[in-house]
């Protein structure tokens, strides 16, 4: 929770965010939030000029001998992975080393998309598989202390690329969009902000580095957390590591980008229970499941609000339509609780007990009978609620129905293969 939370939240008049946003949000004199203001730059910047800046920036990193990689690109089985690799390899002509952190909550479609990415782009890829016993211990600690099951994913996804950069002496890391810019307008695109330890700790890791998790009152120890350490400053300096964000140089529009990747490389999406965006988080059982619900419990909103705000800003839906979609999806059941409890080896009642302790609002809680209760009473629609099916038809997100998760599906905990079932690779 950010330290501004003691101030009464103020709503943006354009999107659905309030100043309670955990990344921080400011509202200007016209009642418009920093996220919406910075988004306006997408329609005013000279993106051709910014593309030239990007080309100039990466040119010195091209390895002429061809004996090593030009850069590192962190990927998963979803999000913007395809588009980033497309830009890096096909448009900038760089030879990237792909790196991916195994989050253990992998879906069959996520594994399929990652395998397809490697094949279609003909790239080398490094997987990091941390000892699952340690991952579970960390998850138990962060769930108990922070009400967060995703700390290890975010820590791993943000540390492993930097560790690899140091280990292989490949200074340039290329990320997709900067979450702080996309959601809350933390920086102008023209600031050309780069990866930093401070941002990672503050926003990705909720203020806690790996070493901060260690406590004499816990079973977690040095052997469990060292893989999540960010390299020290002297090491970063020695290799001259820098991480850039493509979103500062390319007009970022995830929906359009994913649809382009579907056409060009057969990226696949699938419908998810708790949001209308069928492209972003199809690689994970939990991001749009239990993790999404913990966000609702702690912050009073869930991922569908992020997706709706993004679509409002891109002008594809109105604020009223966005609100109606949020209202529709936020109250959907939380899927795959049993799989998570089975993986973490805790009972659903224990999970309910811990989640309720982290509830910072009265909108969401968990009954000890496993009922994930949700109240919409405190939200008031700006006008009347609209029919979500009409809005969804207008947005027209695509999905591959054969890859949709079913109730009995299990995590694919080792990331190199894919499920042997009737689903085909391409």
């Amino acid at each position: 929770m950010n330290s501004s939370s003691k101030f009464p939240p103020i709503k943006c008049r354009r999107c659905l965010y309030t100043t309670d946003h955990p990344l921080g949000l400011t509202i200007d004199e016209e009642g418009v939030c920093s996220g919406c203001r910075i988004h306006e730059e997408k329609d005013s910047l000279d993106w051709g000029k910014r593309w030239e800046l990007l080309k100039e920036l990466v040119a010195p990193y091209k390895v002429l001998s061809g004996r090593t990689y030009d850069c590192i690109v962190p990927v998963s089985g979803a999000n913007d992975s395809y588009y980033v690799v497309h830009i890096v390899k096909k448009c900038l002509g760089l030879n990237p080393l792909l790196v991916t952190y195994n989050k253990y909550f992998n879906t069959p479609l996520g594994v399929r998309n990652l395998a397809n990415l490697r094949i279609k782009f003909d790239c080398d890829i490094l997987y990091q598989n941390i000892n699952p016993v340690s991952v579970k211990k960390i998850t138990r600690t962060t769930l108990r202390e922070l009400g967060n099951i995703y700390w290890h994913c975010l820590a791993g996804q943000t540390a492993f690329p930097v560790q690899t950069s140091v280990r292989y002496k490949i200074p340039l890391i290329i990320w997709g969009a900067h979450q702080g810019i996309e959601q809350v307008g933390m920086f102008s695109h023209e600031h050309a902000v780069e990866m930093s330890r401070r941002y990672r700790k503050n926003h990705d890791l909720i203020g806690l580095e790996a070493d901060d998790l260690l406590s004499i009152f816990d079973t977690l120890n040095e052997d469990d957390i060292w893989q999540y350490r960010y390299p020290d400053d002297a090491t970063l300096k020695m290799v001259e590591v820098r991480g850039i964000y493509l979103g500062n140089y390319v007009r970022w529009d995830p929906k359009m980008q994913h649809e382009k990747m579907m056409k060009l490389y057969n990226y696949l999406g699938a419908n998810l229970d708790r949001t209308f965006d069928s492209y972003d988080y199809v690689d994970c059982f939990n991001y749009m499941g239990i993790h999404d619900y913990t966000k609702l419990i702690k912050h009073g909103y869930s991922k569908v609000t992020d997706h709706a705000c993004r679509e409002i800003r891109h002008g594809r839906i109105s604020r009223e339509e966005g609100f109606s979609l949020v209202n529709h999806f936020e109250s959907k059941p939380v899927p795959f609780i049993d799989q998570f409890c089975q993986w973490l080896e805790i009972s659903p009642r224990s999970l309910a007990f811990i989640l309720n302790q982290h509830g910072a609002n009265n909108r969401a809680s968990v009954g000890y009978d496993g009922n994930y209760e949700y109240s919409q009473q405190k939200r008031r629609a700006p006008t009347k609620l609209l029919d979500p099916s009409e809005i969804l038809s207008k947005l027209a997100f695509e999905s591959a129905t054969s890859w949709e998760l079913k109730a009995g599906d299990q995590y694919i905990t080792f990331g190199k293969g894919w499920s042997k079932n009737d689903r085909t690779l391409c």
């Binding site: 100043t19 200007d28 600031h191 902000v193 330890r197 020290d232 400053d233 002297a234 970063l236």
Partner: protein, 254 residues
């Protein structure tokens, strides 16, 4: 010769560290404590935390923030500004871990209070913030609460209690936050020459730092927004500036 200083400026509004642009537009950065912790690790020569809404909203200093910052165990000297109303506030700010205080509103409201604070803390602990800008060759001092401006000349400057102030933070408020914005005439035409200056507002480039730090009466520069864009921003500046005597860059090794 005394080394000159790079001062990391953390602007806090409604409890949130922000980027500030021209005293009127703000972008969120995150937790003030984590921004401060980062500047400490990077080896800033001094850290200035300015809570810009405390006086306007009559909230007093942000003691809660100071307590949390004190718990960080910083090795970098800390300046705190924002909401300080009287000697008791100033003493409490120092007791919570700040090394010096920055005053702005009191300069307008109660100049005798500045003497009282300095007698309590020592003159070395009191810095005055003066938001200024140059119009038609003359320098104007802005009251940021009322947006009123006063022409600063020899006569008006003589009325300020400069003997109770150690250094003056000259803030180019119009260009604050904007790249290459700082008006370098400010330290040259400012009518007080007895007190050393810290310059702030739109200082973003290596050649700017070298240029203004070479002015004899300038002892340091404040840098805010521009420290948030790249890793090792403080060390990079120190590595690049060779013509000015600064503490050397430090890269933490675990």
């Amino acid at each position: 010769m005394l080394k000159k200083r790079l001062i990391g400026v953390v602007t806090v509004r409604q409890g949130l560290a922000v980027q500030s642009f021209g005293y009127s537009r703000y972008l969120p950065l995150g937790s003030p404590e984590l921004v401060i912790e980062n500047l400490d690790r990077w080896g800033a020569d001094e850290i200035l935390v300015q809570c810009i809404d405390r006086s306007v909203q009559k909230l007093g200093p942000d003691f809660s923030l100071l307590k949390r910052v004190g718990d960080l165990g910083l090795s970098t000297p800390l300046i705190y500004g924002g909401g300080i109303r009287h000697t008791d506030d100033a003493v409490k700010v120092i007791s919570l871990g700040a090394d010096r205080i920055l005053i702005d509103s009191i300069l307008w409201d109660s100049q005798p209070m500045i003497e009282a604070i300095s007698r309590e803390l020592g003159v070395q602990a009191v810095i005055a913030n003066m938001p200024v800008h140059i119009k038609l060759g003359q320098i104007y001092w802005r009251n940021y609460r009322s947006s009123e401006e006063v022409l600063l000349n020899i006569n008006t400057a003589q009325q300020l209690p400069i003997e109770w102030i150690s250094e003056i933070l000259l803030t180019d408020w119009r260009h604050e936050g904007f790249s290459k914005g700082f008006d370098r005439r400010i330290p040259l035409v400012f009518p007080i020459i007895k007190n050393p200056f810290i310059l702030f507002g739109g200082l973003s480039e290596y050649d700017q730092y070298t240029d203004v730090l070479s002015i004899p009466n300038v002892v340091g520069v404040g840098i805010g927004n521009f420290l948030s864009y790249k890793e090792h921003a403080i060390q990079n500046i120190k590595d690049k500036i060779t013509a000015i005597s600064l503490r050397t860059a430090h890269y933490t090794a675990e």
